[in-house]
């Protein structure tokens, strides 16, 4: 019975915070590395579930675990991957500058995280800061710089 309760609680955690973490990690490190590092972090969470569930900010703690994995992966040369922008946007009747996925890849990871979590997933800088342990003012700074870099890259039509 106790194991069932634990399993259900962990299951709920994976569905809620795990999904949030997956989006955060995928935004910061790309989809491939982000999902792999999230899987690794969730495995760690399963092992340390009793301790993690008692924390005030388990998702934030798990973010650090996932980040360690992701940094190693990127350090080994794993590429930052993003899916191509949907065709519908490019067929809107106007010539859209640059490749969004390529431009995202060029952003520093903290700027990319801020841009995607705020403008794609609608998080506030405070919410981003809570899971990453970063002051909201810093997230806003990353966001401003990220958008500026993104616009510059897209206007130049850069490709990595």
């Amino acid at each position: 019975m106790e194991q069932d309760v634990t399993g259900r609680a962990f299951d709920a955690f994976v569905r809620s915070d795990g999904q949030r973490l997956r989006r955060v990690m995928s935004s910061q490190y790309g989809v491939d590395v982000g999902c792999e590092s999230t899987d690794a972090a969730l495995a760690w969470a399963w092992e340390h579930w009793d301790r993690l569930r008692a924390m005030n900010n388990p998702a934030g703690y798990l973010y650090r675990v996932a980040q360690t994995h992701a940094r190693r992966a990127v350090g080994r040369g794993r590429p930052v991957t993003f899916p191509p922008e949907p065709v519908s946007s490019a067929e809107s009747g106007w010539s859209i500058d640059g490749d969004l996925a390529d431009a995202l890849r060029l952003l520093p990871d903290h700027q990319r995280l801020a841009v995607l979590m705020v403008h794609v997933y609608g998080w506030t800088p405070i919410e981003v800061g809570r899971i990453t342990g970063t002051p909201a003012v810093t997230v806003r700074s990353h966001l401003r710089r990220g958008l500026r870099h993104l616009r510059n890259s897209l206007s130049k039509g850069i490709t990595p």
């Binding site: 995928s26 495995a43 399963w46 949907p86 969004l100 997933y121």
Partner: protein, 325 residues
């Protein structure tokens, strides 16, 4: 009336379903077209000692008669690569496991050295994953390195019910990734694994795998030379290794799988990993020896481990196995 030029913010907002779809594709949920990969991990009693007890030795000499079917041989120079490098030099016990999160965050109640060991013989771990086709042009099936023993991988994620140890043992996740990824999908495909909420299961996602087939491996785990790790991997092909004097052989007790058209064998001798391709029609025993014309840099050292993959005519892995010798 002119259409509105989408702002960057608009483009980002419209990007959400695309990004979510990509993330969903990378998660470990099986779809209707998925194929099952099962991993059955059965840890053995931890024990120390220079040699493991070996079974299935009797009669091996008789089976060796048909062997010696080496056709191709290459040598992999072992680089000083990272833990997931394609050669097994990372099995060196001197390499740091570097698991800061695990060691730093060791739960209360664990031994001071951070080692958590669960060697309950009854513990079983299984996993499943997706195996859609690999991209065209990817020709890496059967390559790469799966090594036995050695230190933990960099992401040592031992969990209750998942056995092994921190920070020195391979975990179910490690084993799942290594056992599935390298013999089955090669180096060009990626793989992820995570335990499911159900204790005793680990979910393996292969992306994009090369082999649309179902495989099941039994992975034996034991302590050897102070390190808890994988000591053997067995699929449906029964095999044994035998060392007589300077000669070591790999024998398929019941022959190779009917679907297999060739057997690819890797073995480690000293710091070198050698690869042999055996024609299954020539016999069922393979001599593990450095091919003539090649230099054995470690003539005085025995073979540490051997791994094989059975490959069919479509270059799909139909089985795999191996063990420490």
């Amino acid at each position: 009336m002119s259409p509105t030029i989408p702002t960057l913010e608009d483009r980002l907002a419209r990007y959400r379903p695309t990004l979510d779809e990509a993330i969903a594709d990378r998660t470990a949920n099986a779809g209707p077209d998925s194929h099952l990969i099962e991993l059955d991990l059965r840890p053995l009693e931890a024990h120390r000692g220079p040699k493991r007890s070996r079974t299935l030795v009797v009669g091996s000499a008789a089976v060796l008669v048909g062997g010696l079917a080496v056709i191709v041989a290459i040598r992999d120079d072992p680089p000083a690569g990272p833990a997931n490098a394609s050669t097994p030099t990372d099995s060196s016990p001197t390499e740091s496991t570097s698991v800061p999160t695990d060691t730093a965050l060791a739960p209360q109640g664990t031994p001071p050295d951070g080692v958590v060991v669960d060697t309950a013989p009854a513990t079983t771990i299984e996993g499943s994953g997706l195996t859609p086709p690999c991209p065209a042009g990817t020709d890496t099936i059967g390559t790469g390195t799966l090594y036995l023993g050695g230190p933990a991988s960099e992401q040592n994620l031992a969990a209750p019910g998942f056995v092994f140890s921190l920070p020195t043992g391979l975990t179910a996740v490690d084993v799942a990734m290594r056992a599935i990824a390298l013999p089955v999908i090669g180096q060009e495909c990626s793989i992820s694994a995570a335990p499911s909420p159900d204790a005793g299961f680990v979910i393996v996602t292969v992306d994009p795998p090369a082999t649309p087939t179902s495989l099941r491996f039994t992975v034996a785990v034991a302590e050897r030379d102070g390190t808890t790790g994988v000591t053997s991997i067995t699929g449906s092909t029964r095999f044994e290794t035998n060392r007589t004097g300077d000669q070591t052989t790999l024998t398929f007790i019941d022959g190779v799988p009917a679907k297999a058209t060739r057997i690819q064998v890797r073995f480690k001798k000293g710091d070198d990993v050698w690869e042999l391709t055996a024609d299954t029609t020539l016999g069922t025993a393979i001599t593990l020896a450095v091919p003539s014309g090649e230099t054995d840099r470690f003539p005085d050292q025995p073979i540490d481990w051997v791994l094989f993959t059975a490959i069919d005519g479509n270059e799909h892995v139909v089985d795999a196995g191996g063990e420490m010798i």
